[in-house]
Subunit: 213 residues, 2 copies
């Protein structure tokens, strides 16, 4: 099992047993996530941007407009970034207030932005990104034209310094609390895709595609 090296920045020190450094786990969490938040430093102050992203191999990709101030700033100044992804998988209801918790999976990546200049890499990133949001979508849609490609900026981030933190399972109460008359357990949380809503301006006679059923 391939692991990320543990560094000063990625070592889980609080509840260390929840730390996970193997690539398969980190990548599975990243691949399930619909968005990440990118933190960076501007004039000594912290900033954060929530954004969609995808992973290809050992890189994360985000895209946006060539007019995006934060993307240009990240790329031109090669600013260090901290990227996180978080899932809340369940509410852990213990018998005591103190042992209430949540089941979660989170990933932290430390990296810096590179502007993607290679056209094949840029094209691939958008295709993977689109199909990550909605599998099967890319083949169905009008591809970007020359002007649209020119208006699109893609940044890549090497994933070399990363870790995950994961909690699963039921509540852990103090020994003497197990005899209390209090319900305890887990309320699982999940993100659900609801029934697709057709655009008001959808052309007549177009059926919902198979990948959306």
């Amino acid at each position: 099992m391939e692991k990320f090296p543990i560094t000063d920045r990625t070592e889980i020190t609080r509840l260390a047993k929840r730390g996970v450094y193997d690539k398969d786990t980190v990548y599975a969490i990243l691949d399930e996530a619909m968005f990440c938040t990118i933190a960076y430093v501007r004039d000594g102050m912290p900033f954060q941007i929530p954004t969609g992203f995808c992973r290809i191999g050992d890189k994360l990709y985000v895209h946006g407009s060539v007019g995006s101030f934060y993307m240009r700033e990240l790329a031109e100044k090669k600013l260090p970034v901290c990227i996180t992804v978080t899932f809340m998988d369940g509410l852990v209801l213990a018998r005591s207030a103190f042992h209430h918790s949540v089941n979660y999976r989170s990933v932290v990546v430390f990296s810096e932005a590179k502007k993607v200049e290679d056209q094949d890499e840029l094209y691939m990133a958008l295709e993977v990104f689109t199909n990550k949001l909605q599998p099967g979508r890319w083949d169905d849609i009008r591809k970007p034209n020359a002007g649209e490609w020119k208006a699109t900026m893609v940044l890549s981030f090497d994933i070399q310094e990363a870790s995950a933190k994961v909690r699963t399972g039921g509540p852990k109460d103090d020994e003497e609390d197990y005899s209390l008359d209090i319900w305890a357990g887990v309320v699982p949380l999940t993100t659900t895709r609801l029934q697709p809503v057709p655009d008001d301006l959808l052309k007549a006679g177009i059926a919902i595609p198979g990948y959306l059923k």
Copy 2:
């Protein structure tokens, strides 16, 4: 309608029409969110922590162990923080790749931590936090004892500099693309609470409480 002042840090410059500064909208998003991410700067580098939180009035509260390194650091050094909350409410599937988007609601707050020393405020924050995760839970559980209170740290963050960014509605395509034979619309996303799972060690005869049904 009360609004947050627009500052250099909170002004939405990219797709400015999606910017929302009224308190009711910002607070509704914060109150629905189960977790936030807190970004701060350590030795010039960006860090991020995903954590649960709650809002009371014009303050956000997070809690943790008195042994939490990041919480002590935030409180002792009065570090500036950027706190974000994000919902992805839907995938916006346009006819063109370029106009694919997501419906989202996000909030950014700039603030700094204060350690809560007042016992009433600390107690209230934990009660509100617990009932935010699971309405009705606080009255049902064993309250913290003296040792547990001592082991708990709560930080507050004034919400004075904040803004939201919101996208809703269907895809917006280029005029000439509306005649293409491509399905377009929105796939709504929602977070669902599943059926509660009782703890393996649940005492016999304890029914599931009404607030969990």
